[in-house]
């Protein structure tokens, strides 16, 4: 693998995630596993959002809709139709992808703030729709039949399995993010981000490129959704489409550095780590949202390129390993 130096941009993030995945087993701690699960989930979601936000430059405030929608569809088939977790993952990813394709055709021609508002509207509309959709349990949602866990060897085994699947999804998200970044498709996305009109004059078929970016950014979140609801044992509309979680994803991507592969990962780590600390600290518990808000404000005002972005600007040689 004499080419490995060229792919440091992928290897470093992968090592971080693999380390995180092994940490609970090495320390033999269930609470570590819970923490790691949350961080891995954040990494998978943030890296996926990065494809749309960081590479293509389209700000989605309602990206969590794919987590919720794919999750709902997947859990429906898992719980009501008796599918296995594996096929449910697949259908979750596909349904999120299809939703993204259809939505993308409609809203990707909006620019800037109008696009952001449209994504919020869509998240609320889908949430409200699911609330009324009896097949998905309406406002009560769906509760997982406990016997589903038995198929995987009982609740404890099922949760452990879910953890490793989440790690797998995080790894998949990073690989996809990297492959897009170094591909010709990814270059087209970056061109769109920098100047969409100039990119089209150059020959980038922007409408298609944006749609595929949107689809790619939606698939893994859908799978993360069904896995999360499987682990939690239930899903209901309010918890499936939380707007604030959508914004937290944005914060993670911005914090670490949008448009880079490692950025969302660092951002996810930092943000979840900070939240974890704030929630358990007596002093900060109640105002943790304020502290997060203050940190976000400082970043937006003073380090808009995020941690990795700042490093890339400042130290040109680092650009090779921090794509």
């Amino acid at each position: 693998m004499k080419n490995w130096r060229n792919h440091l941009g992928l290897i470093v993030p992968l090592l971080v995630v693999v380390g995180l995945a092994l940490w609970p087993a090495l320390t033999d701690s269930v609470s570590n596993r819970e923490n790691a699960f949350t961080i891995l989930k954040a990494i998978a979601l943030a890296s996926s959002l990065n494809i749309l936000l960081g590479y293509t430059g389209y700000v989605s405030f309602g990206h969590i809709v794919f987590f919720g929608f794919g999750g709902y569809v997947g859990l429906y088939f898992l719980n009501e139709q008796g599918w296995s977790i594996w096929t449910s993952l697949v259908i979750a990813g596909i349904s999120s992808g299809v939703l993204a394709y259809l939505l993308g055709k409609a809203i990707l021609r909006l620019r800037g703030a109008y696009f952001a508002l449209a994504t919020i509207g869509i998240n609320e509309a889908v949430k409200a729709f699911v609330n009324n959709f009896d097949l998905f349990g309406g406002p009560i949602g769906m509760t997982l039949n406990f016997k589903v866990y038995k198929e995987y060897g009982g609740a404890a085994e099922a949760l452990s399995m879910a953890f490793y699947i989440m790690a797998g999804l995080a790894i998949a998200a990073i690989i996809v993010s990297y492959l897009v970044r170094i591909s010709k498709f990814g270059l087209g996305l970056l061109a769109i981000r920098e100047n969409e009109d100039a990119a089209e004059v150059m020959g980038v078929v922007a409408p298609n490129a944006k749609t595929w970016a949107y689809v790619l950014s939606a698939i893994i979140p859908g799978m993360v959704g069904v896995l999360f609801f499987f682990k939690n044992g239930n899903v209901e509309p309010h918890g499936a489409f939380p707007l604030h979680a959508s914004i937290e994803l944005l914060v993670m991507v911005m914090l670490g550095g949008q448009g880079t592969v490692l950025g969302p990962i660092l951002g996810a780590f930092a943000y979840q780590g900070m939240r974890g600390y704030l929630v358990t600290s007596d002093f900060f518990k109640d105002i943790q949202l304020s502290v997060s808000g203050a940190i976000l404000l400082i970043i937006v005002l003073f380090i808009p390129a995020g941690a990795v972005g700042w490093l890339r600007h400042r130290f040109a040689p680092l650009r090779r390993i921090l794509p």
Binding site: L190, A191, N195, D197, A199, E200, V201, G203
Partner: protein, 250 residues
């Protein structure tokens, strides 16, 4: 021989403003055509109608024999049309090299990243930006950004290159260097239309010229003919003596 580009009766309106009226000309392959006229005459609007930014209300645009009126800009790029802009549009957060590679990847020849890489090397050397290949486009000065825009357009190996005021804002030595580049591009077989205000330069490099005033084509011909055309002189050059001076001062 079908002309490379055929503009037939192109008319463009913006609400009440008549930006272009019945502009018509043929452009054979291998020529450099100069497009001049006072500010607001419609020159950039004409470019926009040719490369797909606008659709003309009336008229046709034919490129390599095919009717391309109102095509999308990316479709025109794939057909072999490239352009630079009056206000440069670099991809700021990408390096010079990445900018040029992008030009090669998405243009007519649809290169992969690796072959685009090789083309980019060659083109950057041609415009003398190879020393800055790994600098961010945002860090270049205006003259360098103009050369970058040119390089990006050339990397697509177009049949027709539309240059919009590539000399604006350059000092005399930079102008000389850019004119050399334009001539070398033509020598490679690329057809060029140049919008310019720097009279001396464009008159010396063009094979043919077209003059627009208030959206209308008021003259067409060789630089000598244009310089002596009374309508042009009145609308644009102002001073009849100036024309003679410019031509004599070769």
């Amino acid at each position: 021989m079908t002309p490379l580009l055929s503009v037939e009766g192109v008319t463009k309106r913006f609400g009440g403003l008549q930006a272009l009226t019945q502009v018509t000309f043929d452009l054979p392959e291998g020529q450099i055509m100069g497009l001049i006229g006072p500010n607001g005459a419609g020159k950039t609007t004409l470019f926009n109608c040719i490369n797909g930014v606008y659709a003309p209300e009336v008229g046709r645009v034919r490129f390599i024999g095919e009717d391309v009126t109102a095509s999308k800009t990316y479709a025109m790029a794939k057909r072999g049309l490239a352009r630079t802009h009056q206000i440069v549009q670099p991809l700021e957060e990408l390096t010079v090299r990445e900018n040029v590679i992008a030009g090669a990847c998405f243009g007519r020849e649809n290169h992969s990243l690796s072959s685009a890489h090789d083309i980019a090397e060659e083109v950057m050397e041609f415009v003398r930006l190879d020393g800055r290949a790994d600098q961010l486009a945002a860090s270049l000065n205006i003259a360098q950004k103009k050369r970058l825009e040119m390089a990006r357009a050339l990397a697509a190996r177009p049949y027709l290159l539309l240059l919009d005021e590539v000399l604006a804002g350059l000092n005399p030595s930079e102008i000389g260097a850019m004119v050399d580049i334009v001539k070398k591009i033509r020598d490679r077989g690329i057809t060029i239309i140049m919008i310019e205000h720097v009279m001396k330069a464009v008159m010396n490099v063009s094979d043919r010229m077209i003059v627009l005033d208030y959206g209308q084509q008021i003259a067409e011909g060789t630089p000598e003919e244009i310089a002596n055309n009374p309508q042009v002189i009145e609308a644009y050059l102002g001073d009849p003596e100036l024309a003679k001076k410019l031509m004599g001062e070769e």
